[in-house]
């Protein structure tokens, strides 16, 4: 798995930072040394020149004095050599020469050759005073020349600048030591800074890599990670060329069954907490070799490693159990449960997309059959694939209004007078054609689009009622709701809002609730019924007699109609027991003061019989199929 851990340790960045800072330190040191050296040498030279000037003026003054006292030039040299200033002449003065009439007359001191200087002075035509500098034999020399005011003599003095070298030696020493130390400090700083910057950079990179590969809510790996992991494993497997008969892994698609209810009833915070708890449980249920991924919403995916030929079924059962155990949250216990679809790699697909698709199909199958988990089977791919395809198109279909309502008449018995309509949804699928609820209601209930779908049905039915009202036709319309809708706290306000908006009286609206096994909590249903009743909406129980808790409903719920399931009606004439059941139902409902509607009446004989048994309202192909608005409108009086 190490090849997947995205480690972006950019050593080149670090090296570049280091080289850059050290080069900068070297450059700064060099500039510093050069400037300081030049500054020091300039300073020293100017001091020396000033000092030299003083000495020169002093010698010049002394000489002028001697010249004025001694007339005889022959005695002059002796006088100079005996004069006190000569004794105290500093050794720095390497040449002291007296010129008369621009010709060298006396060399009081001469340790360097001055002909070059005199030549230079000659070229300048021996000005009143002049000075300059020259380097002879690695010696730095400065010279000064001056004529006396009465033009009797000129003085040329050359000085060796030795003090400058000493000073520079000192300065150079300290500068190089300082440079060495600062350079070292700079390297320290560069090392530390480059490390800090790189560390920061790496941290950010790691954070990004983590975010890219993980789900923020649960901290589990995400889909991107799974794709990379799978592809790397797939490549590895290809390289080793294992036999393809052995399944090396299994993809588990886990979908929580009642998560949407929790989310809708208790809010997203509770939903998120629930997901976190489940994620933790799943994490504990798998081994380190497996990959657990939050696939989105309430879907998890596990890639089981089957290298040690583990048995999948106990594992899947364990996962089912851990998902099914109650989750204590928000002062209550949630039992969500899960459906799991399993697809084997490479048996059920060599690429991840196929595996996902097949695991999804298996999961859908498990959901439909309520078996908990299913393995993908090749035998029934078309049907299931179509289901999966349709499920993927649901949201889009609701948005683009591909659903329409058709209306089936409800009539009074025995005269067949139209007394109401049941609105039924049809999906005008652009490819598949007109689809009946049997093909998509399950999908809608499982896909989380049930609320938006029901809102569409409610709005459309109320709008139609108002349209008919505007045309002077008043007829009750019943709509079918799913048990899932009752958990929607916004449902009743929505009804009220729509009724108000279209100005349709509430008694024209009926809600039919299918007796559904998923209707777990009768308290929620009771509560919803009471609220709908308080609006004035009529209520009925659909498909009565097929569910498990029919009589409990009769006792507990406050409904207006009971619709006897078509299965009783269909066999009523052949099977006397069914007839008796219907008879009993009708009499019981009457004593409970509830109206009975018989569904699925297809023949006159059935209608006649039901009337005899006391049923006063019927519905079925015998009285009219579900029809489009344009076909049914003329029948409404």
């Amino acid at each position: 798995m190490s090849n997947l851990d995205v480690s972006i340790s950019d050593t080149s960045l670090r090296r570049r930072l280091l080289v850059g800072s050290i080069s900068l330190a070297i450059a700064v040191s060099i500039i510093f040394i050069v400037v300081a050296y030049r500054l020091a040498s300039d300073l020293a030279e100017s001091t020396e020149v000033k000092e030299f000037n003083k000495q020169f003026q002093w010698v010049f003054g002394e000489l002028e004095g001697l010249y004025s006292e001694i007339e005889d030039p022959d005695k002059l040299l002796t006088a100079v050599l005996n004069a006190p200033f000569y004794q105290s002449l500093e050794s720095d003065l390497v040449a002291v020469e007296i010129l008369v009439n621009n010709k060298l007359q006396y060399q009081i001191r001469n340790t360097v050759d001055t002909t070059q200087i005199i030549e230079e002075l000659g070229m300048l035509n021996f000005p009143i005073n002049a000075n300059g500098a020259m380097d002879v034999n690695d010696q730095h020399l400065v010279w000064q020349f001056q004529r006396s005011s009465d033009n009797t003599f000129s003085l040329l003095v050359v000085r060796k600048i030795s003090g400058l070298e000493d000073a520079l030696d000192y300065i150079a020493n300290r500068l190089s030591i300082t440079a060495f130390l600062t350079f070292w400090l700079a390297i320290w700083a560069a090392l530390v800074m480059s490390a800090l910057i790189t560390k920061r950079f790496e941290q950010n990179n790691e954070k990004l890599a983590y975010l890219a590969m993980h789900d923020s809510l649960t901290g589990l790996k995400n889909r991107t990670y799974l794709v990379e992991f799978f592809n790397s494993q797939h490549a590895e497997r290809k390289n080793t060329e294992l036999s393809t008969d052995v399944n090396s892994s299994a993809l588990l698609m886990i979908d929580l069954n009642k998560f949407k209810d929790v989310n809708d009833t208790f809010g997203h915070t509770t939903g998120d907490q629930l997901i976190q708890v489940i994620a933790l449980r799943l994490k504990e249920a798998i081994t380190k070799k497996d990959v657990l991924v939050r696939y989105g919403g309430d879907e998890f995916v596990i890639l089981l490693n089957l290298d040690d030929s583990r048995d999948v079924i106990p594992l899947v059962s364990a996962i089912l159990i851990c998902c099914g155990q109650p989750v204590p949250l928000a002062n209550t216990q949630f039992e969500v449960g899960a459906s799991i679809g399993v697809a084997y790699y490479p048996q059920d697909g060599e690429i991840l997309d196929t595996l996902f698709k097949h695991a999804d199909i298996a999961m859908y199958q498990a959901k439909k059959l309520r078996t908990g988990f299913e393995f993908y089977q090749k035998q029934l791919p078309d049907f299931s694939e179509r289901q999966v395809l349709l499920r993927g198109q649901l949201s889009q279909a609701i948005e683009s209004q591909q659903f329409i309502l058709v209306y089936q008449p409800k009539v009074s018995l025995p005269d067949g007078k139209l007394i109401g309509l049941e609105a039924l949804a049809r999906w005008q699928h652009p490819v598949e054609g007109l689809l009946s609820p049997a093909e998509f209601i399950d999908l809608i209930e499982q896909s989380g689009t049930i609320h938006s779908f029901s809102r569409f049905v409610i709005t459309e039915a109320i709008r139609q009622a108002s349209e008919w009202l505007a045309g002077g036709k008043s007829i009750p319309i019943s709509i079918n709701l799913s048990a899932y809708n009752l958990t929607d706290v916004e449902l009743v306000p929505f009804f009220k809002q729509q009724l108000d908006h279209y100005q349709v009286p509430a008694h024209l609206l009926e809600v039919e609730l299918t007796e559904s096994a998923s209707m777990a909590d009768i308290k929620i249903t009771q509560n919803a019924f009471a609220q709908l009743h308080s609006l004035g909406i009529k209520l009925s129980i659909d498909d009565f007699g097929t569910g498990m808790s029919s009589f409990a409903y009769l006792r507990e719920l406050d409904m207006d109609f009971v619709k006897i399931d078509r299965s009783f009606v269909a066999t009523m004439l052949d099977d006397r027991r069914n007839e008796l059941v219907i008879k009993g139902l009708i009499s019981m409902c009457h004593s409970l003061e509830k109206n009975v509607i018989a569904e699925g009446i297809e023949t006159e004989a059935q209608a006649q019989k039901l009337f005899e048994l006391g049923c006063r309202i019927g519905q079925g192909y015998f009285f009219g199929k579900p029809s489009f608005v344009s076909d049914i409108t003329p029948r409404i009086s």
Binding site: Y170, R174, I177, L181, W188, L191, V192, A195
Partner: protein
């Protein structure tokens, strides 16, 4: 107190040792060449720090910079 984990290799330590001894000798015996007490002190401090890291095989700057030349 336990010593921190070593992060210097042998060569690194030898260089530091030689350098610090050389610097201490230089700073003590050529003080007039340096001619500045502050510089002399700095050199000695630098040398002593190096001497310590030579002795224990651990460099705090390496630690901060997350570098290690240490080899088993």
């Amino acid at each position: 107190m336990t010593l921190p984990k070593m992060n210097l290799c042998k060569l690194d330590r030898v260089i530091r040792g030689v350098l610090s001894v050389a610097l201490i000798i230089f700073a003590v015996f050529w003080a007039d060449k340096i001619g500045d007490v502050l510089l002399q002190t700095l050199i000695i401090v630098f040398a002593v720090l190096n001497l310590i890291s030579f002795a224990i095989g651990w460099c705090p700057v390496y630690k901060l910079a997350n570098i290690s030349t240490f080899k088993d």
